[in-house]
Amino acid sequence: MRNSTAVMSAAAMVLGAGFMFAGCSKSGDGSSTDAGSDQVTEDIPTYTIGVIAKSSSNPVFMAARTGAVAAGERLSAELGVNVDVQWKTPPQEDAQVQAQYVEQLVASGIDGIAISVTDANVLNAALESAVAKGVIVVTFDSDAPDSGRMAYYGVDDMAAGAEVMRQLAGVMGGEGTVAVLTGNPAAVNLSNRVKGVEQAAAEFPGITIKDVYNFTPETATEAAAKMAQVQTANPDITGWALVGGWPLYTDNALDGIYETAKIVSMDPLPLPLEYVKKGQVQVLVGQPYFGWGEKSVEMIVEKKHFDRSPPSEFVYATFDIVTPDNVDAFGENWKAWLGED
């Protein structure tokens, strides 16, 4: 028994020594963007910003992370401050874990939080508490309007859903049966996009909505499986409106579907772009993935440094429309957004 205690003690001492070592060499870790840390003196303000996306396994949020880091580096240089961006995102979608991350960041003295909210009902209390403690909160992609956050940055979700439906109606010639694919039905942004799809569909008398199909967890394989199941059970479906690009993050998600149905989706990421090139997806409607992180960090620093808030609490971005005509040019953007330049 004492031997085992000694083994555990030794392991703990190694851990403890590791912490102390880390304490002496914090700026060397590769995890957070401690931009300008080499020149940090006591006179240079440091703004620490936590970025909490929905899930670190979703590639759209990796672009947001790159955007946040890039904004941190740029603003550090421009303003002569030290903007430290900390990425704090659960591996899978979990609103409770997001709320715990908010609380942990607040207790760690964070200056601002940029968050894509998985479930506003669960996050509201934690975000309200953060705001009450002086933390500047900006939401991106998915909002929590009752949380007291300073601003939301992203597309107008109902308009985005409507855009998907109008593009789909265009390629379907205004006629046919449409299935709508969405992810976590508790997410406010997704439910608003679905509403947008349904409202826009009403503009086309020849279009019928078969149903709205949701799936959780929001993974590519779950989405692809759901589409295949639905299409097999309902061969009369001639159009798919995807309010997120989940199934298109796999290689062959649309086999057995694209032959009979037109498909318009959100999220022109590198893998979904391949579907446009193959002619299996007709149109992709894009969100400002890089901008989610970039603009959120900009707004927080603007408030923290200059005490300036955005003119409106809703800062809407425009859509990118990707078709076979511009798919190659659009693909070049991703090299910069993913930090490959």
């Binding site: 028994m1 004492r2 031997n3 085992s4 205690t5 083994v7 555990m8 003690s9 392991a11 703990a12 851990l15 403890g16 020594a17 912490f19 102390m20 880390a22 304490g23 002496c24 914090k26 870790d29 995890s31 957070s32 401690d34 006179d43 240079i44 670190s56 303003l79 401050v81 900390q86 990425w87 704090k88 995102t89 591996p91 899978q92 979990d94 609103a95 409770q96 609380e103 942990q104 960041l105 207790a107 760690s108 003295g109 479930d119 506003a120 009902n121 669960v122 509201n124 209390a125 403690k133 002086g134 300073m150 976590n184 039905p185 508790a186 967890p217 440094h305 200059f306 005490d307 300036r308």
Partner: protein, 421 residues
Amino acid sequence: MSDAPSTRKPGVTQGQRRTLGGLFAHQESGLIIVILLMGLGLTIFGALNPVTLPTQQAVEPGATVTVLDKQNAIHPTGVLGRTDISAFRVTDPDGAAQDYRVSDGWWYDSEKFQLSREHTVNAFLNTEKLVLIVKDASFIAIMAVGMTGVIILAGIDLSVGSIYGLAGIVGAMVLTKMPADMSWALAVPIGLLVCIAVGGACGFANGAMSVGLRVHPFVITLGMMAALRGLTLVLPSELFETQSISGFPESFTKGFFKAEILGVEPVPALFMLAVAGAGWFVLSRTVFGRRVFAIGGNETAARYAGIPVARVKILVYTITGALAGLSGCLAIGFYGAGETNAGNAYELRVIAATVIGGASLMGGRGTVIGAVLGAIVIELINNSILILGIDQSYNQIVMGAAIIVAVVVDQTKQRLAAKRG
């Protein structure tokens, strides 16, 4: 401190137990040392890398705030950047002015009409952080107390995460129908009763099916995990047309489960302590507890000894379900909403906490205190990654390594004990 009376080693004398050396002979002593040393390391790190926390101070109504630059020239707010500001000047309606210097940590938010002053604290060793770690651990730890009994029985319960989610969503459906001004004395018992009843019923079903159908609990609870998760998705969708339910009486959330006491929100942590105490008592000081260890050690022998194996097993699974329901109730009370994804994959965290706490998946061994400490170790690792500024993506790698190390150390301990006879 081991829950099993039978695990007291003959080599450790009564006299030794009274000494510090005796203390180190307990099963949980290694975990306590790990926690203390991690805490020590984090405290030193936190002292070398302190964090700043703001204290707010409202500006008096009618007062005006202006900004002084480095040359003490006056500017309106929102024009200069922080690096160009030397002080904020607050001028009272009667003309009296007071300067709040940026070099002293003062800052002003024109939107909230509020001054704040930053003060530095240890990044780890501060009350808010410590209570937060224990609070975050409590949801898992409470379920781990039940899981300890199951694992001692050489069983497993893969459905605790789904029970946690279902109990929470059913509790939320009931609470959202309660009057907004309902007293906490009514709202809290109703919430607890509903969630614990749902959890207990699911746990009873696990135990009864496993025993009655003579199917390994892995299979039964795997099936229940999927079925209960499906029910969690379907119920609110069919009855409320939503996947997330909030709008409880405030007395249930901020009035009780999220109540602030001395600047922290400790209620889930207090529940965890109460459950851990009760669990320790039941497993180590009651006939029922002795029976659980006896069945886990040798089920056939226990049956020949006249122990009602089926009844004990069903009761253990029922208690585990009820504790998952209690944990779900704490979660909806603390976060103010029930949602269909709640508790997804939590069973793995609960099992990890139990195993790190020294429970043997072969059965016959485990402690409630160890399971609670295991949950705290997991949360400490989680928080360490944030405090040390390590990429969050490494969290799962560290967590996985911790589980493997804990099991290897535990097995080494068993081999050494066996060699000593």
